[in-house]
Amino acid sequence: MDSLWQLALDSLWPMVSGALTATIPLAIISFALGLAVALMVALMRISTNKVVSGIARGYISIIRGTPLLVQLFVIFYGLPSVGITIDPWPSAIIAFTLNVGGYAAEIIRAAILSVPGGQWEAGYTIGMSKTRTLYKLILPQAARVAIPPLSNTFISLVKDTSLASMILVTEMFRRAQEIAATTYEFMLLYMEAAAIYWVICLVLSAVQDRMESRLEKYVA
């Protein structure tokens, strides 16, 4: 029993450092890039140009209709056979970015559409162009609607980064797998990994709660 505790303690730092150097950065970078993709796709989706909105619709449908693990495999193991080889980290970032882009696009689109049409017109009458109205008036209001569901997307993403272990990114869960492979203590190490994910998500949920109550104050 003592040796189990010792193993749990010894493996804690390698796993936490995996979280700090890989899991969390991977999630943050992919989320930030994913939001940019999502905003672009959301705007394309709203466009009155049928071709443009059709492309956005197709993208969203493919991303949401296929497993993230398959998306990762296509990029990392699939592309090399057509001559495109990408390292594990960039592969993971690309896959997660595209994935967030698809899911968050729908959230952002709904949030933009939830802003009353009168706000656009009020922007126009004070002389603003469509683009400026969007950035100065509509998006700040849409953000309030979008932030709660986007925080959920981020929390899911943090957990989903564990899939990057499948394409050789040494993030937290891969550390757990490596230690388990040499010690055979699968239950202990996977439970420990689960516990660390859980703690990270608890922290993120708490942050989310605070952000939402501040947003509510602002709106009321």
Partner: protein, 256 residues
């Protein structure tokens, strides 16, 4: 009524607009002189809002000309890019029925964002003017509040200041009090009346006939997408010549 200059300000010629098969404007003509208050009245659905929105480039009529003295002049035709009508906003500013204030900005930010960010006027001048106008409408205490904490009447007064801040030559009001509780109507109408007395030119869509009679120089009565009667306020409201105008006023004065 104060003597008004006779210089023309706005000319509207033969506006036509359909939504699908619904012909909403079927040849609207009227003009506004500098300093004139024109009240646009008519039954619900007669096209008043649509006509007013055309003056601000918010609606693109199928044909017709909106022309300000000294420019711009916009000749509408199908497929005219929305951008071409934007220039009308250099001369006119709109006050909406539902105010449409920006909820994420304070009162002060609401009224200064246009002058600062679009017109790029000097900050000091803009702030001084904003404070002056907010004080004029009795809202100097509210400048750092958000719109949601104001009453409907206060919100509409901010809406009016937001329009004034753009330094337009023509103010456009679309039923500025019809979304308000009855006890809040007076405070908004009295601001509009003051502006009229100061010589602001305006087109005012309203159902408040007593108010129109009080502040308007001229009245345009629209029905079914055409101008039925256009003349001095006292004449159109007091002694209408057309049957449809008479019937409309009978209904408004004696609804039951």
């Amino acid at each position: 009524m104060s003597p008004k200059a006779l210089t023309p300000l706005l000319n509207v010629t033969d506006l036509h607009k359909s939504f699908g098969t619904n012909k909403v404007l079927r040849g609207i003509d009227f003009s506004v002189r500098s300093g004139e208050v024109l009240a646009l009245i008519g039954p619900s659905g007669s096209g008043k809002t649509t006509a007013l929105r055309c003056l601000n480039g918010l609606e693109s009529p199928d044909s017709g000309v909106v022309s300000f003295a000294g420019g711009p002049e916009v000749a509408f035709q199908p497929g005219l890019p929305a951008k071409k009508a934007q220039v009308l906003r250099d001369r006119s500013a709109m006050v909406f029925q539902g105010h449409h204030l920006f909820p994420h900005l304070t009162v002060l930010q609401n009224v200064t964002i246009g002058p600062l960010q679009v017109q790029r006027r000097p900050r000091e001048e803009v702030m001084a003017r904003a404070n002056e106008l907010l004080e004029r409408v009795g809202l100097e205490q509210k400048s750092s509040d958000y719109p949601s904490s104001l009453s409907g009447g206060q919100q509409q007064r901010v809406g009016i200041v937001r329009a004034l801040m753009l330094q337009p030559d023509l103010l456009l009001f679309d039923e500025p009090t019809s979304a308000l509780d009855p006890e809040l109507v007076g405070e908004v109408l009295s601001v509009i009346k003051e502006l009229a007395q100061e010589g602001w030119s305006m087109v005012l869509v309203t159902h408040e006939l007593a108010f129109a009679r009080d502040v308007a120089d001229t009245v345009v009565f629209m029905d079914d997408g055409v101008v039925v009667e256009h003349g001095p306020a006292a004449q159109v409201l007091g002694n209408p010549t057309h049957e449809r105008t008479k019937a409309f006023m009978q209904r408004l004065l004696h609804p039951f």
